[in-house]
Symmetry: C2
Subunit: 200 residues, 2 copies
């Protein structure tokens, strides 16, 4: 390799990004050096500001710049309804549905004892305290349907039952707009068990 | 969107990278925020140092941190042999072949008058001056085989002839280790025209 050290360091640094291998990293470095030095400086500034300035909302654990995130600060959101999700990306997915007016609780992961991720790492002690405060009327479970997601859901279910709070789970079934032949068996079994009276 | 502004700015900044759309940009930002803040700070530092510290070698126009790039500084490289390439990535490709002990001249582009890229933008005035100095014995053309690459090659050929310098071009033909059926017609035509006596 005959890169100047600064270029080598930059290429190496790019490979910390998900989905970026040595070749894409080199392409990124070259593109910025050739015709995007201002973009590169802007990215550098955005990175250092975000790495130092973004923290977690005290109430829901989502990303925030102040004590509370924009959703927890919004007085129009119903504090009696709390949706449990695994990650900030899941919050965005639910928000984009346009259906939800409650608040969130972001676990930032799922229970995985082998990886050292227990209830405390997911802030479930914080959730337990909030459940016991009495403001929450209903908890909506929207964790994934993997083994870890199921384990997490059951743990939260137990917490909510102890606090006497209603728990629901988002419906599992056939996705909208898809052909039945492409739906896997487990999903179809769930969809059959969860069938509901047909009304128009 | 309910991202905090710093996160939004970071996601937006990531989309300046080649091959990065809004979804990958979001994934990059989340990954760094969740479990790579130190990586993020390192990338920020590498970016700002490279954007401000990397300039072009005075002699060959490749990236450099000093007046001359590492290759032009290397006394073991033959200054009589100069390979013309379009980009720094092409220099690496030739270096990886392990075959070349001469120097380079990096055009940082190809002739494209409609995009405002003329001989001066490619540093061809600098090359002309070097050709007239008399140190260069042979020029090896290794520009691409696109229309712009061909136009560039012919322009350089004229410069070299005027200066009385020999010009060669890297061989065009069938790639190593490939089946003939997957080679396109134009390449095969080139390979046939460029056939050479077979020796073992």
């Amino acid at each position: 390799m005959k890169h100047p050290p600064l270029v080598e360091t930059l290429i190496e640094a790019f490979t910390c990004l998900p989905g970026v291998g040595p070749r894409s990293a080199q392409r990124m470095a070259y593109t910025l050096l050739e015709r995007g030095r201002d973009d590169g400086r802007a990215l550098s500034a955005a990175l250092s500001q975000a790495m130092d300035g973004v923290r977690q909302c005290k109430r829901c654990r989502n990303y925030a710049e102040e004590e509370l995130c924009p959703i927890c600060q919004d007085p129009r959101r119903d504090p009696g309804l709390v949706c449990i999700v695994a990650s900030p990306a899941d919050v965005l997915a639910v928000e984009q549905s346009g259906e939800y007016r409650g608040q969130y609780f972001v676990l930032m992961g799922q229970l995985s004892p082998l990886d050292g991720i227990g209830p405390r790492e997911l802030g479930l002690d914080v959730l337990e305290a909030r459940l016991n405060e009495g403001e929450i009327q209903e908890l909506i479970l929207a964790t994934g349907t993997t083994v870890e997601g199921e384990a997490t859901a059951h743990y939260v279910l137990d917490l909510a039952r102890e606090a006497g709070v209603n728990v629901s789970r988002i419906a599992q079934g056939v996705p909208m707009g898809g052909d039945l032949e492409f739906v896997d068996g487990a999903t179809l079994a769930h969809a059959l068990r969860g069938r509901r009276p047909f009304s128009t």
